[in-house]
């Protein structure tokens, strides 16, 4: 087994340079998002990961909590970063390595201090940092090939943990600049996480079938839905289907906004962030025509 394979097979961990301490990217998921679920008034996402990071920056006492929140966000949003690097022309293998190196730089260094989180959302700050990081990527690849790195992300674990089903046409894919592809991948991550949480809520009640059947109608106009047909498919009384669909849509919207809330400092920014991502998707399709 070569050095690169050995590194890839290791557990996710970032070794802090000046100590033996490790921080795991698989650290327990922060309680903030889940703790807020269902207990706060609508629209109020009290503690989000990004607001926690922003408020904790510079405070020694909050360092561990801040880094855990940052690690969790990196674990969630690795796909946009990887896609951006691939689009910049790197081989898949080099893109995997650079993605790992980028996270190491973010998590072990002074990124938070230098990045000034108060001046941007997590998405835009990450993209800006990624561009800077890639400016001297060639040196980084050479350093890695000489064995001068400490890299340790289990790539397969990340992919299997939250598989993505994003699909797009070849024409769309080949026409997108790296920044646009980054946004498309980001939007897909947000949406897929919200859907996954909705599915898990149904599963916890033993109603996976309800999710499988009704989730296909989350964005369909009410007039286009045949409750009788859905009742047959889902095994739920017809009168309940309509109510379920209404509440599933409502719940999905909340979960989606909660996912976005984790990446912005202020709940008032959720709307803007959603509009930015919607705009990026619409522009992507235009670009492909």
């Amino acid at each position: 087994m070569n050095k690169r394979s050995e590194l890839r097979d290791r557990r996710i961990a970032v070794i802090w340079p000046c100590s033996t301490r490790r921080i795991s990217l698989k650290s327990p998921v922060l309680s903030s998002a889940s703790a807020n679920e269902g207990t706060v008034r609508p629209g109020a996402f009290v503690t989000t990961r990004w607001s926690l990071i922003v408020s904790g920056g510079g405070f020694k006492s909050k360092e561990q909590e801040t880094r855990a929140a940052l690690a969790e966000l990196c674990r969630i949003y690795w796909r946009p970063i990887f896609a951006f690097i691939c689009r910049r022309g790197y081989s898949t293998q080099d893109a995997e390595d650079l993605t790992q190196d980028f996270f190491v730089m973010i998590l072990e260094g002074d990124w938070l201090k230098n990045a000034d989180p108060s001046r941007g959302r997590f998405r835009s700050l990450l993209l800006k940092s990624l561009k800077n990081f890639l400016n001297d990527a060639a040196d980084k690849i050479h350093a890695r090939k000489r064995g001068g790195d400490v890299s340790f992300i289990s790539w397969d674990a990340w992919m299997s943990e939250a598989p993505s089903e994003l699909s797009m046409s070849t024409q769309t894919l080949t026409s997108l600049p790296a920044e646009r592809l980054f946004d498309v991948r980001w939007a897909a991550t947000v949406v897929e996480r919200a859907l996954r949480r909705l599915r898990e809520e149904c599963e916890r009640k033993g109603r996976r079938r309800v999710f499988d059947v009704l989730s296909a109608y989350l964005t369909v106009e009410r007039d286009d839905v045949s409750c009788a047909s859905l009742a047959t498919k889902s095994g739920v009384p017809q009168g309940t289907v309509k109510k379920l669909l209404y509440r599933m849509r409502q719940r999905y919207r909340w979960l989606l906004r909660d996912e976005v809330a984790q990446t912005v400092e202020n709940p008032a920014d959720i709307e803007d962030e959603l509009r930015h991502l919607c705009g990026a998707l619409a522009a992507s399709s235009e670009q492909a025509r």
């Binding site: 089903e165 809520e201 009640k205 849509r249 409502q250 919207r253 906004r257």
Partner: protein, 62 residues
């Protein structure tokens, strides 16, 4: 761009989906759902979207 590699590399996400009849985009996620329509759904904020109401209804299904 290198067109081979891990299962999450760029070519793995191309499946030539149809355009969405509502928004005309061709970006799909889970089971062919339209990514843009799902994202736009978030622009509507609900007055009451606590998990309790869905949970309760799911529990009441006979």
């Amino acid at each position: 761009m290198i067109l081979h590699g891990s299962t999450d590399s760029l070519p793995a996400i191309t499946h030539e989906p149809d355009d969405c009849p509502r928004c005309d985009t061709a970006l799909r996620v889970n089971n062919g759902l339209c990514l843009l329509c799902l994202l736009q759904a978030g622009l509507t904020e609900d007055e009451d979207s606590r998990s309790g109401s869905l949970d309760t209804l799911l529990s009441e299904i006979e």
